[in-house]
């Protein structure tokens, strides 16, 4: 059944396919357009460089009037990401606007990586290291970057079968 939310998500998908912002990719599950898998590549010249951080976006029928719930699946060490992977980002809460789409959500999260908001930390340890011991902070982030390359064992999304006739 097609609903306004699903139709909008199909438009988001088309936009992701036609002009995806650099360093992010996302697609809905083949059997459920309300759940999306996404990957954000850590921006270059930041401690997150080359990380392949996976996320899951869960939409409901209120989209785009309500934001999706967004969660990192990959382990993160960032002042605004909770241990559960959920993130604290104003545009996903009280500053949401129905003009945002999957592409702009992921771009915002990508820029949050190297521009954390220290005033209301979700991960106090990460916030403290970021403020007072930057080299240790970078070391911890680099560990998560390395781990991000390993945690795609359980899904075979990169399995490119070339079955062309």
């Amino acid at each position: 059944m097609s609903t306004p939310a699903k139709r909008r998500l199909m438009r988001d998908f088309k936009r992701m396919q036609q002009d995806a912002p650099s360093g992010v990719s996302a697609s809905p599950l083949p059997d459920n357009v309300m759940t999306w898998n996404a990957v954000i590549i850590g921006p270059s010249d930041t401690p997150f460089e080359d990380g392949t951080f996976k996320l899951i976006l869960q939409f409901d029928e209120q989209y785009p009037n309500k934001p999706p719930t967004v969660k990192f699946i990959s382990e993160m060490f960032h002042p605004n990401v909770y241990a559960s992977g959920e993130l604290c980002l104003d545009i996903l809460q009280n500053r949401w606007s129905p003009t945002y789409d999957v592409s702009s959500i992921l771009t915002s999260i990508q820029s949050l990586l190297n521009d954390p908001n220290i005033s209301s930390p979700a991960n106090v340890e990460a916030a403290n290291l970021y403020k007072d011991h930057r080299s240790q902070y970078i070391k911890r982030v680099r560990e998560t970057v390395e781990n991000s390359w390993n945690d795609d064992d359980d899904d075979d999304e990169d399995e490119d079968e070339e079955d062309e006739e």
């Binding site: 988001d12 009280n94 129905p98």
Partner: protein
């Protein structure tokens, strides 16, 4: 030559009749469908779902798209594009039920904002009294 019409199908295209034609080529920022297309809640285009033209700001939306956004308390009555208080041009031939709902929602958000300002002033007054 004798031509016999066996079957025919009428095809029509339609277009919003606006003074500024460039608007209708744009997409609604909420549903991302062209203004000359229908909003995702409508099957057919027409006066049931007219374009709502921003009056304070210059942002335009399908009626049902902006209506559903302003139904959210979290919208605070603001334009989803620029976060200014949303107002619209009211030059409609017929004012439908949905246009009335939109007017009521905008009024509701306005009185909500006024109340918040009043409360702020009240607590400010209380602070002053305490300092006296």
């Amino acid at each position: 030559m004798k031509v016999e019409i066996v079957d025919w199908q009428a095809v029509a295209s339609w277009h919003w009749d606006l003074k500024d034609d460039s608007i209708t080529d744009e997409l609604c920022g909420i549903c991302r469908v062209a203004f000359d297309g229908t909003c995702p809640n409508c099957k057919y285009p027409g006066n049931e779902c007219p374009l709502i033209l921003g009056a304070g700001c210059q942002h335009n939306f399908h009626l049902h798209c902006i209506l559903q956004w302003l139904e959210q308390d979290t919208s605070k009555g603001l334009c989803p594009m620029c976060r200014q208080v949303f107002e619209f041009r009211k030059d409609f031939n017929t004012v439908t039920k949905d246009i009335n709902s939109l007017l009521m929602l905008i009024d509701g958000h306005k009185s909500m904002r006024d109340r918040e300002v009043d409360e702020e002033f009240d607590s400010f007054d209380d602070d002053l009294r305490m300092n006296d």
